[in-house]
């Protein structure tokens, strides 16, 4: 590297750039950055200082450096500096090694990139140069499939009309080809070296910036000023495709390229626990200071009352005043610093490193999860941010995009309406609609398309009859788009920006309007085997604000504008004479929408020549303007797109992804509220909401569609009142203060537990019939007027709001009310929202709810919300990878979200919480012994442990088991996590780690230190061994306390750990064994022989370990400290198990009982079929038909065994096709009847007859000979 980044010249702020082709000397004077890139941070010389500087910028490291400095002062050093040096060096070295290896990789890739070769035009010949030697203004030759060297203004290409194709996968992740085009004028240059070397245009363009989609500049050549746009520029990072060669002028090089300007500087997200940790650390530091202050005060008294007289044996230091009071004061102040040194271990140095390490491994679990690998696209899940894992276990709000996220984003043309005529609905002879798609025969087209199905012959006939409207309709579809055709194996494959376009163009092709090829200025289509070529005048391209695209073509002297876009946009721009047709089409649009189709409107208009020319001039002016170009262009577009004539509308089917309904249902049972933000129409969104089971018919759904602010306000108020009424009516709650913010919790209703509620009701009823003595047989219901049936069926509130209403609802005045309603609802759907609104909604919830939010999406329009939310998840879908690049986690399918949250997130949260809890405990237990010892050692800051032990405790003797806990622990298996979404709850409420838990673990630590210290003190002080030698010398005591500490703390860890793979055994027992071995060696006489130095502790290990007192004390201390924990665990587990405990118990008994139970089931299968068949008759809801036909329920046998009491949940999903495995899986639910909130949620339980209360008796047989706990649970009423 020639230049160090820090020595870089200060750049003058550039306004515009001006370069001249083929004039290297002139360009060199401008001193634009060269093309050498350097993404590395360090080089050999700068590595150490820079890396150390970076590391010490972290507060924790700086803190320990400060401590180290303190320890180097002999007057106050209470500990050998080694105790801090050792862990600090360990931590720094680890980080440095990681940084260094990262940087070496960057160096390597930089070098590789910088040394790539490219041909440039120098003088009159081609010269091959290395990339790093390329400068701004050079003309370079690009070849096919080559990565671009720098940002380049295109001069000419091998393709006609100066077209070239690029793939921008490296830049924005989109793999489809994009077109770039050289200016017409320069395009003629071709590859003629003469012309190239004499090309002397001047190019003026904007200064380097990071906007990937904008380039403004002018090329001045032969006295003509030609506008340069984004279309004329190729960016570094893209790759040339399907183009033999291309020439261009380098306009930005190296660090100025848009790629480099866009890299890095990702917004750094931190988790709630991080914030809490920071607060806790500050709290601990305060605690540390308080402890030190206590010791200081005590020391002052001690020194003045005792130490002063004790000088006979322990003289005061020379630098301390001889005066009694002043001397004592000075001593005590020095002791303050000394105590800071020895008590500093309460602020755990290894905490941050350990947390990072654990999170890294937790991310690896996500990366490695084969069940989140999306086979069709070969996309594994990926944790792009490794620091957010535990927050995945705390999500309360999910903001989801719809298209491409909930749906597959594979579009198929399904319905259409042409000038008021509806096509696409298949009818039978009587004219009734045929619903069942199985009965339909799709029409065979000549151009075959796998995805495309069409059933309506009327349209075919209409086209055959050359009806004008239909003709026009498909002509538009085949013309008005930005699709690129590509020949592959003799077939035309369409490369489209969006799948909608692809669907439309493909459909047009099927109907005989084949889009054949396009050039810069023309489009060729084949209409019924007749080739037609249109002159392409303008493309008025699509963007998210315009929501439409138009194309102006000329054929046979006739100029036509074709436009397609969102219905609202088109509606505004229709000619007034079109109202009738529009009304009809509107009806059709609504019909499409209620079928869950995406709709587009098509319109057109004829333009006369003069009008067009005038407008073209306006556009040209707008195009060449240097300021506000985009705005002016938009205005120009606006001007021509009016008075359109409606052609019709299309309905495109957007299929749901696999498993989405199940996933949503389970997520919502996990207490997660799902907000869908979509650009679709209300009706479309509503229907998608129903089909993905976000909304259900038993929900109370409110619509807010008003457009005026006052009306929105009124509506919000009304919805609010309705909700209050409904709640009062159903739950027999009296809401006294109606003004107060609505909150389920205030009424004691667990909002996510309606299911459970219903279940309890069922359970109760059946319980009554079976057991007359059931003490709790009446529900607290009727006196308040709410019937249990109503309540039973109530599934919560839903809210639908449109983008226009949202504009007002998000205003400062109304946003809190909107939020209030939103939080009351189980599901919220926002329709027709803009990307900005998506971010606003996320922000609204984030800022006011203090809950964790997750945004998931797949497209560029989701980027804003993905970046805004606490956690951003990207779906690597059809629409490119922009969302993925902005996300923290990404994977291939929406339904993996369930696994990400319910399994990985939950585990991560559990693990990190346990880890932190334990970590603080162990550090307090360790450190506070010094504090107690202070009271016996004259507050002199004497350490109680061997300095080596202080240095190694955190690194060697307590770290590995807790790391193993943080990485491996699990409460229940992944499968069970998925099947019991309610286990997710604790994370949302921060139940596993919060300030209270922290305080508990601190108190636990303090008590532990207290007991370890005082038990050891009482048992050895003043006592002697059998050979008469006393045993309470300082070193023996130190080793004794240290050993007890290590054993107790590690056994405590063992009690905390629920999941013991062999690795954990190794680490746990290993740590304890290593403690003994290490100290035995360290304290052996060999050490003196080897190092020729004396050491206090020689012989201590042997002496202590051979002493009965030590072993009795160890046993006693362990009993005193571990039994209460053991006892508490047992008590909770047996007498008041929480959700997690129940699940764990389940899992345990499942293992034990599985075999017996399966046997039992097998015996019973034959007998119980009958009553179950009758269950069908009781069903008050839809039957199984759709489920069976949809293939979701493949097991017929299973469905036959469905018991009667379970009708409510018949929609529950299952995909299992093996009866036996279902039975096996369900045994755990069977075995713990009282686990109410889970047993219904798992589908397989339905297929097990005796899971049901009505059939309880047999089930107890199977569990007779088991644990008393189990049977007591089973025998419960």
């Amino acid at each position: 590297m020639k230049k160090l980044p820090c020595f870089k010249k200060k750049k003058v702020e550039e306004d515009t750039r001006k370069i001249k082709a083929n004039d290297p000397t002139a360009n060199a004077t401008k001193e634009y950055a060269g093309n050498e890139i350097s993404t590395s941070k360090y080089n050999l010389i700068t590595f150490l200082p820079k890396n150390l500087f970076e590391q010490f910028r972290r507060l924790a490291n700086a803190y320990f450096l400060f401590l180290l400095c303190l320890q180097l002062i002999p007057q106050i050093s209470s500990l050998a500096p080694i105790t801090t040096i050792l862990p600090l060096v360990f931590v720094l070295a680890l980080t440095a090694i990681k940084d260094a290896s990262d940087d070496i990789a960057r160096h390597r890739s930089d070098r590789q990139v910088n040394n790539r070769e490219i041909k440039t035009v120098v003088g009159k010949e081609f010269v091959t140069r290395k990339w790093k030697d390329i400068n701004v203004g050079d003309i370079v030759q690009l070849t096919n499939n080559q990565f671009l060297t720098a940002d380049i203004v295109l001069i000419s290409t091998s393709e006609p009309n100066g077209l070239c194709f690029i793939e921008t996968a490296e830049l924005d992740g989109e793999t489809n080809l994009k077109v770039r085009q050289a200016l017409e004028e320069t395009g003629e240059i071709g590859e003629d070296i003469e012309k190239l070397s004499s090309f002397d245009a001047e190019i003026e363009y904007e200064a380097p910036n990071n906007n990937l989609s904008r380039f403004e500049g002018n090329l001045i050549w032969n006295n003509k000023t030609l506008p340069l746009k984004n279309d004329n520029v190729l960016l570094r990072g893209t790759r040339l495709r399907n183009t033999q060669w291309a020439f261009g002028i380098v306009c930005y090089a190296g660090p100025d390229t848009k790629l480099m300007k866009n890299s890095g500087k990702a917004t750094f997200k931190r988790t709630q626990i991080d914030h809490l940790l920071n607060q806790i650390i500050i709290g601990i530091v305060c605690f540390l200071l308080v402890m030190c202050a206590i010791m200081t005060i005590c020391c002052g008294f001690w020194e003045s009352f005792f130490g002063y007289d004790y000088r006979r044996y322990l003289p005061w230091e020379k630098y301390v005043s001889k005066d009694q009071k002043i001397g004592a004061l000075e001593q005590s102040l020095l002791v303050f610093l000394s105590y800071i040194i020895i008590l500093n271990t309460v602020v755990p140095i290894s905490l941050y490193v350990s947390v990072e390490f654990i999170r890294l491994l937790q991310s690896k679990w996500i990366d490695w999860d084969i069940q989140m690998f999306y086979e069709p696209k070969k996309v594994p899940a990926q944790a792009r941010t490794t620091t957010l894992n535990e927050e995945l276990g705390q999500v309360e709000y999910i903001f989801s995009d719809k298209t491409g996220t909930l749906t597959q984003n594979i579009m198929t043309f399904n319905k259409c309406s042409i000038r008021g005529k509806l096509y696409g609905y298949a009818t039978d002879e009587a004219g009734n609609e045929i619903q069942d798609s199985e009965k339909l025969k799709s029409i065979e087209f000549e151009e075959k398309d796998e995805e495309f199905r069409w059933y309506d012959e009327k349209l075919i006939d209409a086209i055959k009859n050359n009806e004008e409207d239909e003709h026009n309709f498909f002509t538009l579809l085949s013309l008005c788009h930005t699709v690129m055709p590509e020949e592959k194996d003799g077939k035309i494959i369409y490369q489209a920006q969006s799948p909608d376009e692809n669907a439309l163009v493909s459909a047009a092709r099927s109907f005989g309007f084949v889009f054949d090829s396009r050039t810069q200025n023309s489009i060729t289509i084949r209409v019924q085997d007749k080739e037609e070529t249109y002159d392409l005048l303008n493309i008025l391209d699509f963007n998210n604000d315009r929501k439409r695209m138009s194309i102006i073509v000329k054929k046979d002297g006739k100029i036509v504008l074709y436009c397609k876009g969102a219905d609202s946009k088109i509606k505004e721009r229709l000619d007034s004479s079109e109202t009738d047709v529009m009304a009809q089409t509107d009806e059709h649009l609504n019909k499409f929408a209620s079928d869950g189709l995406r709709t587009l409107c098509l319109a057109w208009k004829d333009l006369d020549e003069g009008e067009y020319n005038k407008w073209a001039e306006v556009l040209n002016k707008a195009n060449t303007s240097m300021e506000n170009r985009e705005e002016r262009v938009n205005d120009a577009y606006e001007e021509i797109e009016k008075n359109l004539k409606l052609l019709g509308a299309t309905g495109i089917e957007d299929k749901l992804q696999d498993g989405v309904p199940q996933c949503i249902e389970r997520l919502s049972r996990a207490g997660i509220k799902i907000w869908v933000l979509t650009g679709d129409k209300v009706a479309t969104a509503y229907n998608i909401g129903l089909s993905c089971r976000l909304l259900t018919s038993d929900m109370e759904i409110n619509f807010i569609e008003e457009e005026d602010e006052n009306e929105v306000e009124k509506k919000l108020e009304k919805v609010r009142n309705d909700m209050i009424d409904k709640v009062e009516q159903l739950f027999a709650v009296k809401i006294t203060d109606r003004r107060q913010r609505l909150d389920w919790k205030d009424w004691g209703i667990d909002v996510m537990k309606f299911d459970q509620h219903r279940k309890n009701y069922n359970y109760n009823n059946s319980g009554q019939t079976q057991d007359k003595n059931d003490p709790i047989s009446s529900l607290p219901t009727t006196e308040n007027g709410s019937s249990p049936q109503d309540r039973e069926q109530f599934e919560g509130f839903g809210l639908l709001i449109t983008g226009q209403a949202l504009v007002h609802a998000l205003s400062d005045k109304l946003k809190m009310r909107f939020l209030e309603l939103g939080t009351m609802c189980k599901a919220v759907v926002c329709c027709r929202v803009t990307p900005l609104q998506k971010a606003q909604v996320v922000e609204l919830v984030m800022q006011n709810e203090k809950k964790i939010t997750l945004a998931i999406g797949d497209g560029a329009n989701d980027v804003s919300m993905i970046q805004k939310a606490h956690i951003g998840v990207g779906i690597s879908g059809e629409e490119g990878r922009q969302a993925v690049l902005a996300s923290d986690f990404c994977f291939g399918q929406f339904c993996f979200l369930e696994r990400l949250l319910l399994v990985h997130g939950r585990w991560s949260y559990l693990r990190i919480s346990k880890f932190l809890r334990y970590f603080f405990y162990k550090n307090f237990a360790f450190t506070l012994c010094h504090f107690w010892f202070g009271f016996f050692s004259g507050f002199s800051a004497q350490t109680i442990y061997d300095p080596f032990f202080v240095a190694t405790y955190n690194v060697f003797f307590s770290s590995l088991p807790v790391l193993a806990l943080g990485v491996f622990d699990q409460d229940v298996s992944a499968d069970q996590s998925m099947r019991k979404p309610h286990l997710y709850g604790p994370g949302q409420n921060n139940e596993f780690f919060n300030k209270k838990i922290f305080a508990e673990s601190v108190i636990h630590g303090i008590l532990t230190s207290c007991i370890i210290f005082f038990v050891a003190y009482l048992s050895v002080s003043n006592s002697t061994r059998s050979n008469g030698i006393t045993q309470a010398d300082l070193q023996s005591f130190a080793f004794m306390v240290a050993t007890i500490m290590v054993i107790v703390v590690n056994l405590e860890n063992a009690l905390e750990t629920w999941y013991w793979p062999s690795l954990y055994h190794l680490v746990l027992w290993g740590t304890i064994v290593v403690h003994f071995v290490f100290h035995f060696i360290l304290y052996s006489p060999f050490i003196i022989k080897i190092f020729k130095r004396n050491y206090h502790y020689v012989g201590v290990a042997q002496s202590v370990l051979s002493n009965e007192h030590f072993w009795f004390t160890l046993l006693l201390t362990c009993a005193i400290l571990l039994l209460p924990i053991f006892c508490r665990e047992f008590f909770r587990m047996r007498f008041m198990p929480n959700k997690t405990d129940r699940a764990r118990l389940n899992r345990k008994y499942r293992m034990d009982e599985k075999a017996a139970f399966v046997e039992h089931i097998k015996q019973r299968l034959g007998r119980v079929k009958r009553p179950i068949l009758s269950g069908y008759a009781f069903s008050q809801q839809e039957g199984w038909g759709p489920l069976i036909t949809s293939g979701r329920m493949q097991s017929k046998a299973a469905s036959r065994r469905r018991p009667p009491a379970q009708i409510n949940n018949i929609n529950s999903p299952t995909t299992t096709d093996n009866d036996l495995s279902q039975i096996q899986d369900s045994t755990d639910d069977h075995l713990l009847k009282n686990e109410k909130d889970s047993s219904e949620t798992t589908i397989p339980s339905k297929f097990v007859p005796n899971v049901e209360p009505t059939n309880r008796k047999p089930s107890t047989n199977a569990t007779k000979e088991t644990d008393p706990l189990l049977s007591s649970i089973n025998n419960k009423p």
């Binding site: 006979r312 008469g1028 012989g1099 008393p1268």
Partner: protein
Amino acid sequence: MPGQGETEEDHEQQKSKKPADTAFKQQRLPAWQPIITANTALPVFLIIGLTFIPIGIVLVITSERVLEHDIDYTDTNCMSTTAANTTCAQALENANYTGQTCTCRINFALDKSFDGDVYFYYGLINYYQNHRRYVRSRDDNQLLGKEGAAASECQPFQKNSTGSGKDYAPCGAIANSKFNDTLSLLYGSENVSVTNVGIAWSTDKAVKFKNPDNASNYFTSTHDKPPNWKVTAWELDESTSENNGYQNEDFIVWMRTAAMPTFRKLYRKLLRNSTFQNGLPKGDYTLVVTYNYPVTSFAGRKQFIISTTSWMGGKNPFLGWSYIAVGIVCMITFVVFFILHKTWKINNPFTYQMASIQNNQRITTT
């Protein structure tokens, strides 16, 4: 930056990276998943209760069998034999601690015979051998007999800076403050025979403390004795020549600093011959104290302790009683849990309703 250095193959490979389906990577490692249930917990409590109580009883009995006799001779117990009505402590104080010696005789009786090995200790109370500055003030390498200047940790007892300028041997506050009372015991008029060998840790004596070569020269001429000492280290035990210098066992015992401000250190062992074949017989004894070591100025106390030992060492009832207490608590826990376990049924399918009833009442009443 999306790795632009990648070749196409790398790219493809990365895209098709399918995670390996191993038990480790899929977090399906076979594991023991302990759950504390009644089946495990109740036996644990029972077993601990059943073992701890007997252990505790044995320990208490053992401890009770140990005989111990303490004599505090700090002040009034130890009246000077030379000056009337003066305690030795006062005598030292009156002489302003300038090296005077005071002798006192203390008569006492043992009610029981101390059978077996008998050990004699001196005990100090309120004496901070564990103070940081005190603990630090020694030079372990000097004690190993190595040549070289005394370590600076020994300050202010590193070298005789006011006089000869020679290093102290041994240096440091610990060595300087070595306990130097002489305690001897008379049975009637017969001297109780004792030994001062074998009172220190064997490793200390064998490894950590070594006299330098040419020890007599080292201790007497090249180095000074510590200021508080009456004799040089080479004259500590005049009867046994190898028990001198750094290897003197009294010195080694002193140098092994105590962990607590109340401590005792082994002083002598009974030499079991003739009269004392079976230990100390019961009867009247006289403790003869040569009182050199002042502690009264800082309210310290000095004790002379006679003790026998058991297999568990000296008297210490704490462990035994603790074991009994823990054992009893375990038994109680066991009984309570057992009864609870047999009677308590978990019933919370209706918790929800119960909670909502309560809530309703709360809301309606407010």
